[in-house]
């Protein structure tokens, strides 16, 4: 991967990867930092990246692992997350409906949340989601079905009265 290829990948996919990671972890500025760091690692491994079929998927997975690592450290060590790429930048205000959706997503089990985000937000076909999460296609389908059902309930709770429920 040369500079032009990297720059093209970065400019084309950075924002959507940030949104996807935000949907997965629920923290927008943490998501953007992890995505930037994942791109930096992609450049550091540019020779390896040339043989990767889906560089964007590689960056997404790396960013997600970075985010999980930061979560783990914050949970177990009680320290602030590393700011690997630089100083915190001012983040734009996020649409309220997005906040509610992300809040609902965070209440899903991790596997369901990951499947939902990859399929519905990253727009990956089911078989590609299966490859990315390392699970059989049938399992991914089941996670999607259960995740959507749970998400519908959670969104209804967020807006009571919007969905009629039997007594």
């Amino acid at each position: 991967m040369d500079e032009d290829e990297f720059d093209a990948l970065y400019n084309a996919s950075y924002r959507r990867l940030c949104a996807q990671l935000y949907a997965m972890i629920g923290d927008f500025d943490e998501a953007s930092e992890c995505v930037q760091e994942a791109f930096a690692r992609a450049w550091a491994h540019r020779r390896k990246m040339s043989s990767v079929d889906y560089p964007e998927a590689w960056v997404r997975t790396t960013a997600y692992r970075l985010a999980v690592g930061r979560w783990r450290r914050k949970k177990y060590a009680g320290r602030a997350a590393d700011r690997a790429v630089g100083a915190r930048t001012e983040m734009p205000a996020i649409d309220e409906s997005h906040v509610a959706l992300v809040a609902a997503l965070r209440q899903l089990p991790e596997a369901q949340r990951q499947a939902i985000v990859l399929h519905h937000i990253a727009d990956l076909p089911v078989h590609q989601v299966a490859v990315e999460v390392g699970a059989p296609t049938g399992t991914v389908k089941a996670r999607l079905a259960r995740g959507r059902a749970a998400l519908a309930e959670l969104l209804a709770e967020d807006n009571p009265g919007a969905v009629w429920k039997e007594a």
């Binding site: 500079e3 990297f6 720059d7 970065y10 400019n11 924002r15 959507r16 940030c18 949104a19 949907a23 927008f28 998501a31 953007s32 995505v35 930037q36 760091e37 791109f39 930096a40 690692r41 992609a42 450049w43 550091a44 540019r46 692992r65 970075l66 985010a67 999980v68 690592g69 930061r70 783990r72 450290r73 177990y76 060590a77 320290r79 590393d82 700011r83 690997a84 790429v85 630089g86 930048t89 001012e90 983040m91 734009p92 996020i94 649409d95 409906s97 997005h98 959706l101 991790e110 939902i116 519905h120 937000i121 727009d123 959507r148 998400l151 519908a152 969104l155 967020d158 919007a162 969905v163």
Partner: protein, 508 residues
């Protein structure tokens, strides 16, 4: 609109904008990471190349010595007191380096015939919640101690006369100066003798505690009739108070008695414990009924050799799906501590013999480390003290020998290790600390399982370290259930067992 698919579609279409750094900035960061990785790989190659030179370095350093450790401080001259070994805090900023390791251990204590030997019960940082001596109204902390530690002993359970042997408590303290310690000692001795808080107490006798490393000391014994009418014996309180320079030790034995017996066993216990208070180990003959002036005997120590050290082939492999398999390589001793949580070089434990070996797992970066050391001590008491010292390191993880940032140190726990002969005791803790990222922030983390095991006069120290980040080396990332840790735990256990098995072969 609560249809989740519509909401998700809307989210995707109306992606929140995140501020971007330029691609060039991100590439520069990537170049930094790349440079750092090259440094690590180069260092690993140097370490592997050093395997060939390792034996030469090992032999030139002398058998059982760690070649790359700094030279120990010069031995104290005969005129220097043992406190030279454990430096006194400076007068301007009094800081205590007293630790639990300065408390007496079972081997230091002399049990009076026909009572059973004393065994360790509880150890506290501080003076403990319960009173340990009814004659002493003032705590050592209130008297100005910089640090205090307490250890309670009880008679060995199930033995004859265990019920009537009473209890024994040792409290160690450090003061800002030797003068201050001596002033407190004089007051405590007076209080132990008069025992004013107890109505009707009688002085039964006293005995000086002299010799060895002791600066000043005595034992005072009082008896009194307890208020509880069901107790038909008098209560006896024997209090030994001794100082060694700026450190002070109070040993209290409490029991029911019919007649006064001179407290020679308490005196001898205090005499032996004073060595440990000073940071050294008692001579073998001190913790006995022989006179304190007896010259220490030197028991011949078993000779350790590299036959006591585990081999690379005995260490468990690390599964690396999709990668070529990495194998453990023995490397030359590194200028790093055997245990990340070490508070001082192992030479400070003053083992009679020691051997060590290190292994690395690279793929191609360093992803695993195993450090082992086997220490042989001249006496059981010395081994006990060293175990306590290492246990203290693992408990508090001072990590003063390490330069990597500690994220978290888990609680120290007793562990079972299958070996023949059997391990007396063993403990393990997990430390997580930053991996070397060339001074840059990164998520690489070392997960070090550090183990200390004691078999008689021998200690075995093992570190099984695996690199991780962002997740620990579990089968799931992040680990969610116990099963995710099973393989990692198994690898650690295999490393520890293989190391201990090798270290005790010549003892069976």
């Amino acid at each position: 609109m609560n249809d989740p698919i519509s909401r998700l579609d809307q989210f995707r279409a109306n992606t929140p904008g995140a501020p971007m750094k330029s691609a060039a900035e991100v590439r520069r960061r990537g170049d930094q990471i790349r440079r750092r990785q090259r440094t690590i790989v180069t260092a690993g190659a140097v370490a592997l190349a050093a395997v060939v030179a390792g034996p030469i370095i090992f032999l030139s350093a002398g058998f059982g010595e760690r070649a790359t450790e700094p030279e120990p401080a010069p031995a104290p001259t005969p005129s220097q007191t043992p406190s030279t070994v454990a430096p006194s805090p400076s007068a301007s900023t009094p800081v205590s380096d007293l630790t639990r390791a300065n408390l007496p251990v079972e081997g230091d204590l002399v049990a009076e015939e026909p009572y059973p030997k004393w065994v360790q019960d509880q150890t506290y940082d501080g003076e403990g919640r319960s009173d340990y001596n009814e004659c002493l109204a003032t705590s050592l902390a209130d008297a100005g101690a910089l640090a205090t530690f307490r250890r309670d002993f009880v008679p060995e359970a199930g033995k004859e006369y265990a019920d009537s042997a009473g209890t024994l408590t040792a409290v160690a303290a450090e003061f800002a100066s030797a003068d201050e310690a001596e002033k407190v000692r004089a007051k405590l001795s007076e209080a132990a003798s008069s025992c004013t808080p107890v109505d009707g107490s009688d002085v039964a006798g006293s005995l000086p505690v002299e010799g060895g490393v002791i600066s000043h000391g005595d034992v005072n014994v009082v008896t009194y009739v307890p208020e509880d009418p069901s107790l038909n014996a008098r209560r006896e309180v024997a209090t030994a108070v001794v100082t060694v320079e700026d450190r002070l030790l109070v040993i209290t034995r409490r029991r029911g008695v019919q007649d006064y017996v001179s407290p020679t066993s308490v005196r001898d216990s205090a005499l032996a414990a004073a060595y440990r208070l000073a940071g050294s180990t008692p001579p073998p003959t001190t913790a006995s009924t022989s006179p304190p002036s007896s010259p220490p005997s030197s028991a011949p120590a078993p000779i350790l050799s590299d036959a006591d050290l585990v081999l690379a082939g005995s260490l468990p492999g690390l599964p690396l799906p999709g990668e070529s398999s990495a194998t453990w390589q023995q490397v030359a001793t590194q200028p790093t501590p055997t245990l990340y949580c070490q508070g001082a070089w192992l030479s400070s434990l003053k083992a009679a013999e020691s051997v060590s070996r290190e292994f690395r797992l690279e793929n191609p970066e360093e992803i695993g480390k195993v450090n082992v050391a086997v220490l042989e001590f001249a006496t059981k008491a010395a081994a006990d003290a060293a175990y306590e010292k290492v246990h203290g390191w693992l408990d508090t993880c001072p990590a003063t020998m390490a330069d990597a940032k500690l994220y978290t140190a888990g609680p120290i726990e007793s562990v079972e290790i299958d070996s023949d002969p059997k391990v007396d005791r063993a403990a393990q803790t997990l430390a997580e600390y930053a991996a070397d990222c060339g001074g840059e922030g990164c998520d690489s983390t070392w997960y070090d399982h550090q183990t200390v095991a004691q078999i008689g006069t021998r200690l075995v120290l093992v570190t099984h370290a695996e690199a991780g980040g962002p997740c620990p080396p579990t089968t799931a990332c992040p680990p969610e259930q116990d099963a995710d840790y099973a393989e990692w735990d198994k690898r650690v256990a295999q490393t520890v067992e293989a190391t201990v098995d090798r270290a005790v072969r010549d003892l069976s």
